[in-house]
């Protein structure tokens, strides 16, 4: 794939979609607790789905906020399935009991991700500021398995779990999870405020990824995924066949509850609105998106031997710390 991505792709492959910023939790790392935004009604959400389907975007992933807080979640999902979309969501699991799992199955979800930050119940509950949340999250995984829904586990790597992430993998195995996402820490919203307590130093990130990449290579019974382009310089890094650097604005876009589009959930730059603007105009001509697709090496990235793969690392993190989309990722250890 040598052609520029906007020529390659006529639309993103995924819309990450916050239907609502409402949540029954207030987690320490969350990007969206301070976000405020109007929510759309069911009819408008269906209109958005029509547009997404018309542009042949194959995947939508509901996040937020807690998607299960929306009463019309299953109606929306069933509608999206009818339009040929593949639907998944990320949930904290609190509301995901057996009955909800059956509805998830019936409405046609392709998979559901449950956020679990530590295999130690007390640590998870503390991080999520909600006693009992670990048990409910684990019960949600079991309910999904019982209902025959593919489950994944999402864990944001931070100071509370970077040394014990193998326990998270074991937990995933015990609860029939098929894939574990070890997410990079994003420094947006509360994640930015709490980063002194939660974020790792660049050297700690390097140490974590060196081990985690090796574990990934040795693990055959579980898919382990990372979403951090800054690992491009490490042994065991598998070249992403779909994209170099951050995938935001190239493979995926983010939808806010009012239909505003941002490059990703962690970059609060609105590039247009899916209901009121011409989507193709946004996709091909948004200055912000084009800037993200054509980053220029700055600072220490200039002359870096892995720039071609890393492209300065996570654009959201660079933007959150310096306000410049092209600056080097603050997690970079080079």
């Amino acid at each position: 794939m040598t052609n520029p991505l906007t020529e390659q792709f006529s639309a993103p492959l995924t819309f990450n979609w916050a239907l609502s910023y409402s949540c029954n939790f207030a987690c320490s790392h969350c990007y969206s607790r301070e976000e405020q935004c109007d929510e759309l009604g069911t009819a408008e959400l269906k209109q958005i789905i029509d547009r997404i389907a018309a542009h042949q975007v194959p995947f939508i992933n509901f996040g937020g906020g807690e998607p299960l807080m929306r009463k019309d979640l299953f109606e929306i999902t069933a509608y999206a399935r009818q339009q040929g979309l593949n639907v998944s969501m990320n949930s904290n699991g609190w509301l995901l009991d057996r009955a909800a799992a059956e509805q998830i199955k019936a409405s046609g979800f392709r998979s559901v991700g449950i956020s679990i930050d530590s295999a130690e119940a007390a640590l998870h509950d503390d991080f999520r500021n909600r006693p009992g949340s670990f048990l409910r999250a684990v019960a949600a995984l079991d309910a999904l398995a019982e209902a025959g829904v593919r489950s994944t586990m999402s864990s944001v790597i931070s100071r509370i779990n970077h040394k014990s992430f193998r326990d998270l993998l074991d937990l995933a195995r015990e609860h029939r999870v098929s894939q574990v996402y070890l997410h990079n820490f994003k420094c947006s919203g509360r994640g930015f405020k709490n980063r002194e307590d939660l974020d790792l130093t660049p050297q700690e990130w390097k140490d974590f990824y060196l081990v985690a990449l090796q574990v990934k290579q040795e693990t055959k019974d579980l898919l382990i995924s990372f979403d951090d382009p800054v690992i491009a310089s490490l042994p065991g890094y598998e070249e992403n066949p779909l994209v170099k650097g951050s995938s935001c604005g190239k493979l995926s876009l983010n939808l806010r509850p009012n239909g505003d589009i941002t490059p990703c959930g962690f970059i609060p730059l609105v590039v247009g609105n899916i209901l009121t603007d011409d989507f193709e105009e946004i996709w091909y001509n948004s200055p912000t998106l084009n800037k993200m697709r054509n980053k220029e090496a700055k600072g220490k990235c200039q002359g870096c031997n892995v720039y071609e793969d890393c492209l300065g690392g996570c654009t959201a993190r660079a933007f959150a710390t310096t306000g410049d989309l092209s600056d080097p990722d603050p997690h970079c250890w080079k």
Binding site: N3, E7, Q8, F9, S10, A11, L13, Q56, P58, L242
Partner: protein, 108 residues
């Protein structure tokens, strides 16, 4: 009747702008190259089909036989039938072997 059917687990789409660019180049008598005009997403990997492959793929919706697909393509491409038939057969055999296509054996 053996109709060709795409594997329903494969997520795919036509890259419309690219497809149009290739069609325009062909119409202008230029080489079209092997540029992908249809993308397939299979187990997290992306595969691309060129213009002819993409057109065949798009028609394998369970309603057409190989012969019907060849007839359809004949209208689009100015190629000898036997040659087109052989190309389509080879392409389809390959995709069947990969598990991306199958013959729907139901009778009508």
């Amino acid at each position: 009747m053996k109709r060709l059917q795409r594997n329903p687990d494969i997520v795919w789409r036509v890259e419309k702008r690219r497809q149009q660019a290739v069609i325009d180049r062909l119409a202008a008598g230029e080489e079209s190259g092997d540029e992908g005009t249809v993308i397939l997403l299979i187990s997290g990997m992306m595969h691309q089909l060129n213009l002819l492959g993409g057109m065949i793929w798009a028609q394998c919706d369970g309603s057409r036989t190989l012969a019907q697909i060849v007839t359809q393509l004949q209208a689009e491409f100015d190629v000898e039938t036997a040659l087109l038939q052989a190309d389509v057969q080879e392409f389809i055999d390959d995709l069947i072997e990969r598990g991306w296509l199958s013959y729907d054996q139901s009778t009508d």
